[in-house]
């Protein structure tokens, strides 16, 4: 990225950036008003009521408990309260937009580690310290860390989120301007924290398709996940076809985004966090009706591998809620056939 010249406002390159900038302008206006008001009054009083020999202002010993005083106190409590409730509500509503990815968002996986970002695209492409995304499409990042806490921050998109070890966090944006933007790690993570960054490239649809086509040659994430699934021998216990039950371990087909009943009677939703936990700490939340025979895979599966497995399990379920970029067919043993026919830009997307 070519160094930009001096500027006072960052690029506004995502749909949310425009909203954040208006909110910011509102805050700046309110702050300027109150700062200047207070500054003006102080200077004015300091001059007008400056000490002069023998001069005693009228009513100097009136105290603040007079009726006028009470009214003033109420006025200058209630007005700031009112303004600040607007600040709260406006900020919160933008946050809700930022927090809830649209259902049609393209999912991309990000793994942070000291001190680099590793990115996996659904279609299999991988990159380091760079992120290529198409313009005008909703992008959803699912992120985790291999060590300390990091934070995936793109100021031009006005968004960031911490990236934690041992769990997934989410961030989404809709780039609206083609270009190259800074990617920073914004949560302090050790020696090279300030070097843990890179560039986000927003490409036109066509450029993006070209870029994706270069791919990784390893197949989609779900396919890679299936390979890992087989390699680890998960299938020895877990059935992965519809209506196949063996009593040893839950059937994974169709399980994603359903609710399962646990041994202690409570109910939990099968989401990324639950799948991850079940691989790492199988006994933590055992599904009712199964024995705790599953060994832990802690140390055997990397965070990237974990993402592949999850994506594989998700691919076993009909698309619920999210029409991610990967084709929705379950990757079964016949999945290899589909490999070549993978569309660069998912159908039903435009």
């Amino acid at each position: 990225m070519e160094p930009r010249s001096f500027q006072l406002l960052p690029d506004a390159a995502s749909s949310i950036a425009v909203q954040v900038d208006s909110l910011y302008a509102f805050f700046v206006a309110v702050s300027a008003f109150f700062s200047l008001l207070v500054a003006f009054l102080i200077i004015f009083f300091a001059v007008k009521y400056r000490y002069r020999q023998g001069f005693i202002p009228a009513g100097i010993n009136e105290d603040g408990h007079s009726v006028g005083g009470m009214v003033l106190e109420i006025v200058w409590s209630v007005i700031p309260l009112g303004i600040s409730m607007i600040m709260f509500a406006w900020g919160a509503s933008i946050y809700f937009t930022e927090a809830r990815p649209p259902a049609d968002a393209t999912e991309i996986f990000v793994t942070g580690k000291q001190w680099m970002w590793k990115v996996q695209h659904m279609e299999g492409a991988r990159e380091i310290n760079e992120l290529h995304v198409p313009v005008n499409r909703n992008i959803r990042l699912t992120m985790t860390s291999e060590d300390a806490i990091h934070d995936f921050s793109v100021p031009a998109f006005r968004t960031k989120a911490d990236v934690l070890p041992g769990r997934y966090t989410t961030e989404w944006f809709r780039p609206i301007k083609v270009g190259a933007y800074h990617l920073f790690c914004a949560e302090y993570c050790g020696t090279k924290h300030s070097a843990m960054g890179g560039t986000v490239y927003v490409l036109s649809e066509a450029d993006y398709a070209d870029w994706l086509a270069k791919g990784s040659g390893e197949g989609s994430i779900a396919e890679q996940g299936q390979a890992l699934f087989n390699q680890l021998g998960c299938g020895n216990c877990h059935p992965n076809a519809i209506n196949n039950y063996n009593g040893r371990a839950p059937n994974l087909a169709g399980i994603y985004h359903t609710k399962v009943v646990l041994k202690d009677g409570s109910v939990t939703r099968v989401d990324e966090a639950y799948i991850r936990e079940s691989v790492m700490y199988p006994q933590a939340k055992l599904v009712a009706g199964y024995d705790d025979i599953m060994p832990t895979f802690q140390g055997l599966v990397s965070e990237e591998g974990m993402i592949k497995l999850i994506e594989y399990v998700k691919s076993l379920s009909p698309r619920v809620g999210s029409a991610s970029s990967a084709p929705p067919q379950p990757v079964t043993s016949s999945a290899t056939e589909q490999k070549t026919g993978r569309p660069a830009v998912p159908a039903g997307k435009r």
Partner: protein
């Protein structure tokens, strides 16, 4: 001293010994009750029972062994503040823990 009149503390109220023994007996009995009740399957109520009994026992100790029952308003206020802030710490943090999955978006 501005608000000194209300202080029975200075003349140290002497608590009848009998009270100590009653409280003591209650504490011992409740200890074994709580141990026993934990073996009875009450579902989620097990935890509630354990904590209620513990709170009750603790209150007995604080009120009688520690004389708060006979103490000044200020002492009671300080004790209440301690309990209140403890609850703040626990409860407000739990707001986060309890609602983490509500949104259905990991990490939000």
């Amino acid at each position: 001293m501005a608000d000194h009149k209300a202080h029975g503390d200075g003349e140290h109220h002497i608590v009848p010994k009998r009270i100590y023994f009653i409280v003591f007996a209650a504490l011992i009995v409740l200890t074994w009750v709580t141990a026993w009740i934990s073996t009875v399957d009450l579902g989620a109520m097990n935890t509630v029972a354990a904590l209620s009994i513990a709170t009750f026992k603790a209150s007995l100790v604080v009120l009688f062994f520690m004389h708060v029952f006979y103490g000044t308003r200020l002492t009671k206020l300080i004790v209440a503040a301690g309990v209140f802030w403890l609850i703040l710490l626990l409860f407000i943090t739990m707001i986060d823990i309890w609602t983490r999955t509500w949104m259905g978006v990991p990490g939000r």
